[in-house]
């Protein structure tokens, strides 16, 4: 009010002089907006309803004024004179109105509403006069409604629901209060969901129109055609070369990722080159509805004690369905888990689960993390079941999947297992080369790597490649010495900690120990068999998609494939139970590189499919 910056027309001139720029809404956008249909605008919650008055003094529900597919809602009051406030929103709405006048499609789809903050002076009569300015002769219906409220009592809950904090400042003569508020304009869809909120920095007609077009495009079933940058469908980062300065991340902004739902049933049932048939128990055949339910549960944070932790938070889709940043998993409230989160890609082909193989079915496995105190921390099975019973959505989903709405322990595990079985990440270059005789699928270096893998290094003794399919695991348990060294603390006094690509700092182990919780003792397979000869034995993991599933080993202690190869080249870590197959290999630098190249050819093209599908799944949140 006391500012000079809005002076006359010089306001455009003065703004730069004062070193502040005019709100973008008055000018042209200086950047290009993303392609409509290429981005997500998740719902920001339901747009509130309330009792309002029209210019004719008729009392209506605010929701009934949202009578087109999209509504732009702004709050105004007549004595607002902050250029960054109501005048800006009125200006932008006016621009939108002109666009609507010019475009018949928009006219059918877009509604503008200005709702007054000031029931005392913006009476129905006054807002009728505002509206008159936009009524064309002979036109019955406006595409811009001006609304007000009967009194403060009716207005207050609406403002509160929209998060429009209004402060009333009494002037010195105590006559009229001045309103102080933060400019917000809301884009609302036909389901009355708020899809975007614009503040002074983003309020621009082109931005709003782009969002509207984006939502129209996204509602279109052909939306995947609109995805221009396919790289956002790809799996995430991988660490190859992380030890060098020249390392460049391949990670993609999660915000910009685009979900793309696929028919997981078709995906699961088709023949995947180089894969055996899926292990599906006769009692839990795959059905579309079960998979859908399992997928919904998988991403639902309410499956944990305090509604914060979903399966997907350790088995992160874009991080190879494991957690790339954690050597060992961190669960509920930051509690440490003693082992690395295994990938769920191709988990449907496994016969044993957990690094110690303590479960032999996915159906049984799922209750492990759900009930572990340091994972999802549910106190009991019944607790999980009862929680799901109280969520309306699940009544419908369980009925669709199982014929009636009853929620049981078996049904929860059947559906979660069903979803995980569909996470098949086939179609790798190795498969095309090895099983389909496609000579060009692998480079010479990769082919050399294969020779070393199956020959000199002997990797395939445990990471088995069959004649008709290859899971790269013998499903047995081995002692590499890593578990032994951790348990016996035969580590060095100085720990190398890599803080950035190419930068490693040697830190005294006592300092590292200060910042981390004492790791629980881990005896491996022994914990299941109680046989002393099974101490520090862990399951041989599959190597498929290994490029994406770092860090490696049962404890995530090795960050890159190079480190893993060095580890085996050195013959593991000596201990009485070391696997006899593990011995120094004498690999040259070139051979090591060829091995890495070969391992990187095991990444399946289909990872993109299941990752993009995961991004289209609903995230279950308490709200």
């Amino acid at each position: 009010m006391t500012s000079f910056r809005t002076l006359v027309l010089g306001f455009f001139i003065l703004y730069p002089l004062l070193g502040v720029s005019a709100p973008i809404g008055y000018g042209k956008l200086t950047y290009q907006l993303p392609e409509p249909g290429s981005y997500d605008l998740p719902s920001l919650g339901l747009a509130a309803d309330g009792e309002v008055l029209t210019g004719d003094g008729e009392s209506i529900r605010l929701h009934s004024a949202f009578d087109k597919e999209f509504t732009v809602l702004a709050f105004i009051y007549s004595s607002c004179n902050d250029e960054d406030g109501c005048p800006l929103s009125s200006y932008v709405l006016y621009q939108l109105k002109n666009e609507i006048d010019r475009n018949q499609e928009l006219e059918k789809k877009l509604k503008l509403i200005s709702l007054s903050f000031d029931p005392v002076f913006d009476t129905p009569e006054m807002i009728k006069l505002y509206e008159n300015g936009f009524k064309k002769k002979g036109e019955a219906k406006n595409h811009w409604d001006f609304l007000t409220t009967r009194n403060e009592r009716k207005l207050e809950p609406i403002l509160k629901a929209y998060g429009q904090d209004v402060q009333r400042i009494e002037t010195s003569d105590k006559k009229v209060s001045v309103f102080s508020h933060i400019l917000r304009v809301y884009l609302i869809d036909k389901e009355k969901n708020i899809r975007n909120i614009y503040n002074v920095d983003f309020l621009h007609k082109d931005m709003i129109l782009n969002d509207v077009r984006n939502l129209i495009e996204s509602g279109n079933s052909k939306r995947q055609l609109a995805i221009k940058d396919k790289s956002y469908l790809e799996p995430g980062d991988y660490r190859s070369g992380y030890e060098n300065y020249s390392f460049k991340t391949r990670s993609k902004s999660v915000e910009q990722r685009v979900g793309n739902q696929i028919d997981l049933m078709i995906h699961a049932k088709k023949k995947h080159l180089g894969y055996p048939s899926l292990n599906v128990p006769t009692k839990n055949q795959l059905t579309k509805d079960k998979v859908h339910l399992g997928r919904t549960l998988f991403f639902d944070r309410r499956l944990s004690l305090n509604d914060t932790f979903s399966c997907a938070m350790c088995h992160i889709p874009e991080q190879g369905f494991t957690s790339n940043e954690m050597a060992t998993a961190v669960g509920f409230e930051g509690r440490s888990v003693k082992r690395n989160a295994p990938t769920l890609l191709n988990v449907g082909f496994a016969k044993k689960f957990f690094h110690d193989g303590r479960e032999d079915s996915l159906e049984n496995q799922i209750w492990g993390p759900l009930l572990a105190k340091n994972e999802m921390a549910n106190p009991s099975i019944g607790f999980v079941i009862n929680k799901l019973k109280n969520i309306d959505k699940y009544k419908v989903l369980f009925k669709e999947a199982f014929g009636d709405a009853e929620i049981t322990m078996l049904r929860v595990s059947d559906s979660l297992a069903s979803y995980q079985r569909t996470l098949i990440a086939g179609s790798s270059r190795f498969d095309r080369w090895y099983f389909d005789n496609s000579e060009d699928a692998l480079s010479d270096s990769e082919k050399e790597g294969f020779k070393i893998f199956t020959g000199k290094a002997g990797c395939s003794s445990c990471h088995v490649i069959g004649t008709s399919d290859a899971l790269f695991t013998d499903e047995s348990y081995r002692n590499t010495g890593l578990g032994y060294s951790r348990a016996m603390q035969v580590e060095d006094d100085v720990v190398p900690v890599q803080v950035a690509p190419g930068i490693t700092v040697n830190v005294d182990k006592s300092i590292v120990d200060q910042v981390s919780e004492d790791m629980e003792v881990d005896l491996g397979r022994y914990e299941v068999t109680q046989d002393p000869n099974d101490r520090w034995f862990y399951k041989t993991p599959s190597l498929r998609n290994i490029q994406l599933t770092y860090p490696y080993m049962h404890d995530g202690s090795l960050g890159t494939l190079e480190e893993v190869i060095d580890f085996y080249d050195n013959g593991g870590i000596a201990n009485p139970l070391l696997d006899p197959l593990i011995k120094p290999l004498g690999l040259t630098k070139e051979e090591k590189q060829q091995l890495v190249d070969f391992l990187e050819s095991l990444t399946g093209d289909d990872v993109s499919l299941v990752v993009a599908d995961a991004f289209s799944a609903p995230i279950g949140d308490p709200k």
Binding site: L7, F121, G133, K137, T171, S172, D173
Partner: protein, 183 residues
Amino acid sequence: MLARTNHFKLALFLVAVLIPFDILSKPLGGNFQLTDSNKQDFSLDSLKGNVVLMFFGYTTCPDICPTELSKLSIILNSLGSKSKHVKGLFVSLDPNRDRPEKLKEYVKFFHREIIALTGKESEVEKVANMYGVSYSKNIRPDGNYFLDHSANLYVLDQEGKISAVAPYGFPISHVIQLIEQMN
């Protein structure tokens, strides 16, 4: 005694509450008399036959009034020959400071044809209430004051009836379009 005091309070309360409602419940607008910057009596009716663009403000207003007045001047200029039948009115909400001489000096700066009006405080208040204008004094520690006031532009038709109100912030083109529709 107590009961009587309470009745008195209630009556006072009702008067306080109902008076503004009474004012606001009447239709907005209507004829009024004030004094122009040449110290001549002015009646809105004298402008019948013209489209009138009316704005309320005060000359020491730092931001919106000059913005709105220069908009008004651009509108009048761009209407060209049509502007003969379009009049600009600037009503001071600060009659104690905005005496005719000062007003004359002030509006001249924007456009010759803008008529500036002032009057007794009570007269101005009456007009403001007729047109649903909210305004109040905001006194600063140094004794100076600003007025917080609504900044709507009133478009009156040839009969002196309010045809439309453009809330502050609407582009010039909108007002020109309104006027063109009325001719």
